[in-house]
């Protein structure tokens, strides 16, 4: 276990490494480079970094034009503005022509904290997942975040990467083999499965420990790629454990829970529960306070597992 680090910080470091490897890597930001962590790239490769100012629509349109000219473009701002404000440009100028733009959105979810509801994107996964050609990735820790960035750079086409503001522990070792679209089984168990994404993977692992002390063994899956979703790992979990709880720092409408349910109902219907934001807006507060208030902690996962296996 290394020191705590936010996934956005890992993103920033990965970008610098990518910039050294590949001259076609271009980074765009919208006056948030010190927050999205594109600042490191901007200093090392100032000729390939474009600050577009506070203009997220033009951030995405310009990214599309650079990609249409052969560049590998990373476009960053907060998730609220990347997926929300610029949605239709991401749809029509990036996804429709399937251009090579990586929308790397930071400060996603309610763990943005004190900034409050206006800045807490809780619907970005749902929005991005609905777009044809779009890949959606939500890494849980700095190691997988960094690996994800290297993988999306190799992949040709639009990708949405959801990154967090808060520091998180490393779950993985540097030897991690990260594959887009392949969920990772972190803990095996037969009584139920918790499928989590992003920061909620940490809560799921904590929940598994608590449950284990109560004699309940659950499977924990890190579903870092929400689209294309790993159907195989879900179907297997449904068949072998008979109950699934999903956990996401996102609305329960349209996010990971929905994506998993779409697979489950088609292939192997089992009971499900969804931990996530229950169709309400966030508010100001410390990240851990908000997670408690909005019922997305390890305790909530424990409760859901206990209910579902009853």
């Amino acid at each position: 276990m290394s020191d705590k680090m936010a996934t956005r910080q890992a993103y920033g470091e990965a970008l610098v490494a990518l910039g050294k490897e590949n001259e076609d890597v271009v980074v765009l930001d919208a006056d948030l480079s010190k927050s999205t962590m594109t600042v490191g790239f901007s200093k090392e490769f100032s000729d390939r970094f474009f600050n577009m100012g506070i203009a997220e629509q033009n951030l995405m349109g310009t990214a599309a034009g650079l990609a249409a000219s052969g560049k590998i473009v990373f476009a960053s701002t907060f998730a609220m503005f990347a997926a929300g404000r610029a949605f239709e440009i991401v749809r029509n100028a990036i996804c429709y022509p399937s251009l090579n733009v990586k929308v790397c959105a930071t400060h996603a979810g309610i763990t943005v904290g004190e900034d409050g509801a206006s800045h807490q994107a809780i619907e970005d996964i749902a929005l991005m997942r609905a777009l044809p050609n779009m890949i959606v990735i939500n890494p849980s820790d700095p190691v997988s975040a960094k690996k994800a960035i290297f993988e999306v750079a190799k992949y040709h086409g639009p990708v949405y990467v959801r990154l967090g503001r808060v520091k998180v522990d490393s779950i993985y070792e540097d030897t991690l083999d990260f594959e887009i679209g392949k969920g990772i089984c972190l803990k095996d168990g037969a009584q139920a499965t918790v499928i989590a994404t992003g920061v909620m993977v940490h809560e799921a692992l904590k929940a598994a420990e608590i449950l284990e002390s109560e004699g309940i063994r659950i499977r924990v899956i890190d579903m870092h790629t929400i689209k294309p979703i790993d159907e195989e790992i879900i179907i297997k979990a449904a068949a072998e454990t008979g109950a699934i709880v999903t956990a996401e720092e996102h609305s329960v409408i349209g996010g990971l829970g929905s994506a998993v349910a779409e697979v489950v109902v088609k292939h192997h219907p089992v009971k499900m529960k969804m931990i996530g934001i229950q169709d309400i807006f966030g508010e100001s507060g410390k990240p851990d306070e908000l997670m408690k208030k909005f019922n997305i902690t390890s305790d909530d996962i424990v409760k859901a597992v206990n209910e579902i296996i009853k």
Binding site: V26, D47, R48, F50, M52, G53, A55, Q57, N58, M60, G61, T62, A63, A64, G65, L66, A67, A68, S69, G70, K71, V73, E88, I89, N92, A93, Y96, P97, S98
Partner: protein
């Protein structure tokens, strides 16, 4: 380079006839704002741009982005006339399975540089293309065409600001200033004037011309290449529906196809035969 105006005039006539035929065959589409831009596209594709229809993706080519994507018929007709694809495709416009979608799709049509249709996005993409050209030290120049109603989109001004900020002198935009949009005149719907002062204050080099006069278009294109530190906006005063008398200056022909009789009359007026096929 000597300009053969007679050839350009005759090409423009062919393109206008193709617009009428394709929109008539489709039974829907946007003839008004296509006809107003014919001379601009003709000058770009038949005089100015460094392109090769046989090698549509060649390196260092100049690029044109139709930001007012609803004028797809003028782009398709021009590309076909220039030899990017067979003219027979024009009769499949907007039909199921056709490469000629209602709005331009870069994945389907050779020569289409950017998928457009949602207004202002093509202009924004042209900023990215101009930045890429600079990064690559390419001589590739980027051209784009905006509609006047399109100036009402906020994204236009975001992109305008960035074009001046990054001193994109390799970017030349045309404004197809015909004064009409779906619901009426610009003045009635949402005034866009003073257009010249707006672009000047946003840091662009501004040239005002008659958008149907080849000499003025070409002179403006040559002038744009001499500008060292800013992008150029060529404000082209045009007539919506230009060349077809019953369509001229009539907002009703923004997005409506002519029927058989109307199409035949238009073709005759454009110096063609009364044959819509």
């Amino acid at each position: 380079m000597v300009v053969d105006y007679q050839i350009l005039e005759s090409v423009a006539k062919n393109i206008r006839q193709s617009i009428i035929k394709s929109v008539h065959a489709a039974g829907s589409g946007h003839p008004g704002g296509s006809l107003s831009a014919v001379e601009i596209l003709t000058a770009l594709y038949f005089y100015k741009m460094n392109i090769d229809p046989k090698d549509p993706k060649k390196a260092d080519r100049d690029r044109f982005v139709l930001s007012k994507g609803h004028a797809a018929p003028v782009l398709y007709s021009t590309l076909a006339e220039r030899g990017y694809f067979d003219k027979k495709h024009l009769m499949t416009l907007r039909k199921i399975g056709s490469m000629l979608q209602g709005h331009p799709d870069m994945k389907r049509v050779p020569g289409v540089e950017m998928s457009t249709g949602s207004l202002a996005q093509g202009f924004s993409a042209s900023i990215g293309m101009a930045l890429a050209s600079k990064l690559d030290n390419s001589r590739s120049r980027i051209y784009t065409l905006l509609g006047d109603g399109e100036l009402q989109e906020g994204l236009i001004w975001e992109a305008a600001m960035s074009g001046a900020h990054y001193k994109l002198n390799n970017l030349t935009a045309f404004l197809d200033f015909n004064g009409l949009q779906i619901d009426g005149t610009n003045e009635e719907v949402m005034n866009v004037k003073p257009v010249d002062e707006k672009w000047k204050s946003f840091g662009w080099h501004v040239i005002e011309i008659d958008g149907h006069c080849f000499k003025e278009i070409i002179d403006a294109l040559i002038e744009a290449e001499t500008i060292k530190d800013k992008p150029t906006m060529i404000i082209a005063k045009t007539i919506k529906g230009k060349g077809v008398s019953y369509m001229e200056n009539n907002a009703g022909w923004h997005g409506k196809a002519p029927n058989d009789e109307e199409a035949k009359a238009a073709l005759v007026e454009l110096g063609g035969e009364a044959d819509v096929r």
